[in-house]
């Protein structure tokens, strides 16, 4: 029996390959996701282990956040160097808002990758490693010199001796130092650019010229362990500093990064799961068709004495082989896919060009487990049906398998749809532990439920299209319609695979356009300024820009917003500072005059929800810390939490911010013009100010809205690209089903050709059938996608997604595209069908 099933497999190599395609693509996605995130993780690990000293002295608790603004007094460094077991101590300054502008005037990096700046010390990193090594030239030894990492220098077109254009968020918005040397990083920089200053210049740029540091590395003498040194250093520190060993700091940092990378892994795996669900449809379909086609052969086995189990097992063995081959090829393709994802992420700034791909054993195991499990599960039903083939079928011409009644299937589908809808509703509306999981499971449930009912639900659609076909294409159209209807399950399963992909794409389209519409509406409502100066990549910029802006003729009001992470109570929070006097003129802040007055006097303004959540009332004291000393802020009052109106949930006045060590750089500068000022003239004057600062831009309402929409569009593109794979699998499914149908209907095709159907007509018949399937899938998908998108938007209406906007044009385009896909999918099966020799076809079994 085993030999027989393997033989029959080999005899159907093409069909085998086609059924494996779905497995290959699904597995490739899983493997690709793992390989990519492992690679990403490894490249971060590389940086982390050499970005700490043997012992790191830093502000207490700052290990948890990037960019604490608290500094360490420079006098401490000498004291630490004198600690027992210490060979030396070096103070470090790190800044993440320093960008290099290339010779062509283009910003290097950006788009999420930090622009790093450090001071040069010749102290080694932990365990006598080094974060950077000099590749050419020399390290900066005097102010006005810098070193750059090799990639940035190359991209910018800079060679040693050149004047480099550096943009900072410090008081000096733009600096033009000389490139003294080029460094190589010990690990991939993941797209970040690195500028190395002298310590003195770094202090004057980033720390207001104080002799201070962000952290201090203490290097151990031979014979002293990191832990011993840490113990020796700890007593020398004031209470607000801590000493940690380099190993543990690196590990903690690495863990933290792994943790945040998990998000990417999950994100990618969700798409892998979508691809697999779609793939499962294709596999079930393929095996069902194969079983149907092999009915006689299977019946013959039964007639000569094979048991039901043996027959069923023979199908499962086939599935096993398909799964095995699929997993192996999928793993290979996964590597290719990982490279593609790497490129995709590279395009949005997460540059991993230098990183080598990591193929962890776990990836291999996952690939095979997924490949085999999915294939075997998918083949189980067809296999069971194969076992039920009656032996007498071997003798009969027109056997059809008794399939479980459509009735039960539709009921099951409806039940599943209802369950899914309930889960979706719970996830969106109720207070459940893991809402995202509920929403995901709900969407999956609805999709599968509709897929089950689709043979019935889709029928009117097919019949409707059939009526059109009949008119336009005559008997060829009739036959195409009938072919689509003759095997409703097969048509439905093939269409459902496409439906899933299209539903998710449409959902994202609806959600994306609603988000953009909501943002636009908020902006329209809240944006009262004439211009906004802000950083297009989301980091801060120099206060000098605001100063210049204020001097422009026609500018009435300049209102600055500063922001950053800080402590509120025990938690790290995003805090912003506004100017109470002017903010109300440029943006909408729904609060009382009294609260604003309190804010101006050093208070903390909260959004109403946050205040309720924390149980804070006006007049309560809250302990806060920016950098420097902790301070008590009095709750000034609350503002109504309408999204988009305030830059953070915790608002201070800029005065309070500056006085307590908040970072002295602006996040946004709003500009209001004097009455009658020439807006265009002021606009070009403002443009001139930021002309040399590619990170900073000036925009009016429209420009601001456009900029806000940009990351959403970018995210949508990535999601579309990832969902695209599921769509590709579905398209392959259509091709597969059609090709198998052609094989199944060989005789019929021969007959049609004999009575005068031309090759062209035959191809167009298949094409029409394919288009029916594709349009059915796309239409169901778009309808479901709109429903999902609407549900999500409605549920999030209170959280800023106030406006529903359904992108009809785009959705219609999806359906039309599906029609084109249908046409393309029929090309190959049509060609095969047209090639059939009439007599061979008629004579075939």
């Amino acid at each position: 029996m085993l030999r027989a099933s393997l033989k029959s497999l080999l005899a159907r190599k093409l069909r085998l390959l086609m059924s494996a395609v779905a497995v290959i693509l699904g597995v490739a996605f899983v493997a690709g996701s793992f390989i990519f995130t492992d690679t990403l993780g490894r490249s971060f690990d590389g940086i982390m282990s050499s970005s700490v000293g043997d012992v790191v002295v830093r502000p207490a608790g700052s290990g948890d956040t990037l960019g604490s603004t608290q500094t360490i007094d420079g006098a401490l460094v000498a004291k630490l160097a004198a600690a027992p077991g210490a060979a030396r101590a070096d103070g470090n300054i790190v800044d993440y808002t320093t960008f290099v502008v290339g010779k062509s005037g283009k910003l290097i990096g950006g788009q999420g990758a930090p622009g790093m700046a450090v001071n040069f010390t010749d102290g080694p990193a932990a365990n006598n490693t080094s974060m950077f090594s000099l590749a050419s030239g020399e390290m900066p030894t005097q102010d006005g010199q810098i070193a750059l990492d090799a990639k940035t220098a190359k991209t910018g077109g800079y060679v040693v001796g050149d004047k480099v254009n550096v943009v900072t968020a410090s008081a000096k918005a733009q600096v033009n130092p000389t490139l003294s040397g080029i460094i190589e990083s010990s690990g991939s920089l993941v797209g970040a650019s690195v500028v190395v200053w002298t310590t003195h210049e770094a202090q004057s740029l980033y720390l207001g010229g104080k002799d201070a540091f962000n952290d201090v590395w203490v290097t151990r003498e031979d014979g002293t362990s990191q832990e011993q040194l840490r113990a020796a250093v700890a007593p020398l520190l004031p209470a607000d500093l801590e000493a940690v060993t380099g190993d543990s700091a690196a590990e903690a940092a690495a863990n933290q990064i792994q943790e945040s990378l998990k998000f990417i892994t999950y994100f990618l795996l969700i798409f892998a799961a979508v691809a697999l669900v779609v793939g499962t449809f294709i596999i079930v379909n393929t095996f069902s068709i194969l079983v149907a086609q092999r009915m006689r052969e299977l019946a013959l086995f039964r007639a000569i004495g094979a048991s039901r189990r043996q027959v069923a097992r023979s199908v499962l063995i086939e599935a096993f082989v398909v799964g095995l081959i699929g997993a192996t090829l999928g793993l290979g393709l996964g590597i290719v896919l990982a490279i593609a994802i790497k490129a995709l992420f590279g395009a949005i700034g997460l540059d991993l060009a230098g990183a080598e791909l990591v193929l962890a054993p776990r990836t291999v195991v996952a690939a095979y487990v997924v490949g085999l499990v999915v294939t075997l599960l998918a083949a189980y039903l067809p296999a069971r049906r194969a076992g039920k083939v009656p032996p007498v079928a071997a003798m009969r011409d027109d056997v059809t398998l008794t399939e479980s009644s459509m009735h039960r299937r539709v009921l099951a589908g409806l039940a599943l749809t209802a369950l899914g809808a309930a889960a979706l509703a719970l996830g969106l509306l109720a207070d459940v532990p893991k809402p995202v999981a509920f929403v995901g499971a709900g969407i999956l449930g609805v999709l599968l439920g509709v897929a089950l009912t689709s043979p019935v639900v889709g029928r009117p659609l097919i019949v409707g299209m059939g009526a059109i076909y009949r008119r336009l294409f005559g008997s060829v159209g009739v036959m195409a319609e009938e072919n689509a209807l003759r095997n409703p399950r097969r048509t439905a399963a093939t269409a459902s695979a496409l439906m899933i992909g299209v539903a998710l794409v449409s959902m994202m389209a609806v959600f994306g356009s609603s988000t953009k519409a909501s943002i636009n509406k908020e902006i329209e409502k809240n944006f009262k300024a004439d211009y906004l100066v802000s950083n297009s990549i989301g980091s801060d910029f120099s206060t000098a820009v605001g100063d210049e802006v204020a001097k422009v003729d026609g500018v009435a009001t300049v209102s600055r917003v500063r922001w950053g992470m800080g402590e509120v109570g025990d938690g790290q929070e995003w805090i912003a500072a506004i100017d109470p006097a002017t903010f109300g003129q440029v943006a909408t802040l729904d609060t009382s005059a009294e609260a604003l007055a309190n804010l101006d006097r050093g208070g903390l303004l909260l959004d109403a929800d946050t205040a309720t959540e924390l149980g804070l009332k006006t007049g309560d004291k809250v302990r806060m810390k920016l950098s420097g000393k902790p301070f008590d802020a009095t709750v000034a009052g609350t503002y109504a939490a309408t999204a988009g109106s305030a830059p953070a949930r915790y608002l201070l006045s800029t005065k309070t911010w500056d006085a307590n060590g908040g970072k002295l750089s602006d996040g946004q500068v709003y500009v209001r013009l004097t009455d009658g000022a020439d807006a265009a003239a002021v606009g070009s004057a403002l443009d001139k100010i930021v002309a040399d600062l590619p990170t900073v831009s000036v925009k009016d309402v429209a420009g601001y809205a456009e900029e806000q929409a940009k990351p959403i569009n970018q995210m949508l593109m990535i999601i579309y690209a990832l969902l695209g794979l599921a769509v590709v699998i579905a398209i392959l499914g259509i091709i597969n089903t059609l090709a198998l149908s052609v094989i199944e209907r060989t005789r019929e095709i021969g007959l049609l050709r004999a009575v005068g159907l031309s090759r062209r007509q035959l191809r167009s018949m298949l094409r029409l059938e394919s288009v029916v399937i594709a349009l059915l899938g796309a239409t169901l998908g778009v309808v479901l996608g709109v429903v999902f998108g609407m549900a999500i938007q409605r549920a999030l209406a209170d959280e800023g997604f106030s406006t529903l906007q359904i992108p009809w044009v785009q959705l219609v385009a999806f359906v039309l595209m599906a029609g084109i896909v249908g046409v393309l999918a029929a090309v190959w099966p049509g060609r095969r069908a047209a090639k059939l020799k009439i007599l061979d076809a008629i004579g075939s079994e």
Binding site: M479, E482, L752, A754, V755, S758, R759
Partner: protein, 256 residues
């Protein structure tokens, strides 16, 4: 071996004609000469039977004559048109417009109703059926009540009659039928054969039919006997008895 029977003296209109038609399958040792230079005329408005032992080349002759298969050498004419050497598209059009087919089994498209099957060649061609003619064909075939049924809902005989109606409805120059009654019981066979006979007698249709059955052959005007890829005999106005007798003689001549 016998020489071919002398041609009938009268002048018949020729519906189809082969000249030295040869069909060789395979190469070298595996070579099979299915037709070894067949020259026959098929008379218009006649019912012609082709008989002969299994493997004698009957189906091959018919396929080549109908342009379903390519001849190795020789010529085939349909009316005045030489179809050997025609391009695929022209052949398709020829099959669609000038030729009707009835196969032994699997004649109908399972997804289409009887009526749709009957009208298939016309609708493929984008032509409207002549309603009078259609009604007459349906009437003759005796299926007016079952027109809306699918093939699976029809008996074997009914299915073959639908196939006959399909072959007739486009008024082809010639209908080829390869053992159209091979799968039918005697009653159904009779129905089909009577129908074919009537369409020749009443409508002047030209039909060529391959059969093994002497009583089927008795419905025809003329029987051509094939053996080893050659026409070896011919019989006009056959009856079951004369056909049987002639077959016996042929077998005897072949030493069976």
């Amino acid at each position: 071996m016998m020489s071919a029977a002398p041609s009938p003296p009268t002048t018949f209109e020729v519906a189809a004609r082969t000249e030295g038609l040869t069909k060789i399958y395979g190469k070298g040792d595996a070579q099979v000469v299915a037709l070894g230079g067949v020259s026959v005329d098929i008379h218009a408005h006649e019912f012609t039977a082709i008989m002969g032992p299994s493997g004698s080349g009957k189906s091959t002759l018919m396929h080549c004559a109908a342009g379903l298969d390519e001849a190795t050498s020789g010529k085939v004419f349909l009316g005045d048109v030489e179809i050997t050497g025609l391009k695929e598209n022209d052949l398709t059009r020829l099959r669609r417009d000038r030729i009707g087919f009835i196969f032994q089994a699997f004649n109908l498209i399972p997804t289409l109703t009887a009526k749709e099957n009957i009208l298939l060649p016309l609708s493929i061609a984008g032509r409207e059926p002549d309603p009078e003619w259609f009604a007459r064909v349906i009437d003759t075939v005796g299926l007016s009540e079952r027109l809306g049924h699918r093939p699976t809902e029809l008996s074997g005989g009914q299915q073959q009659r639908v196939a006959c109606a399909r072959a007739l409805v486009s008024r082809p120059a010639i209908i080829f039928a390869d053992e159209p009654t091979g799968n039918l019981d005697s009653k159904s066979s009779r129905e089909v054969l009577e129908f074919l006979r009537r369409s020749v007698t009443e409508f002047g249709q030209t039909i060529v039919m391959v059969t093994h059955d002497p009583s089927a052959a008795s419905y025809t005007d003329r029987v051509l006997f094939l053996a080893d890829g050659r026409v070896v005999d011919e019989l006009r106005e056959p009856t079951a008895e004369t056909v049987l007798e002639r077959m016996g003689r042929l077998d005897g001549a072949r030493g069976v």
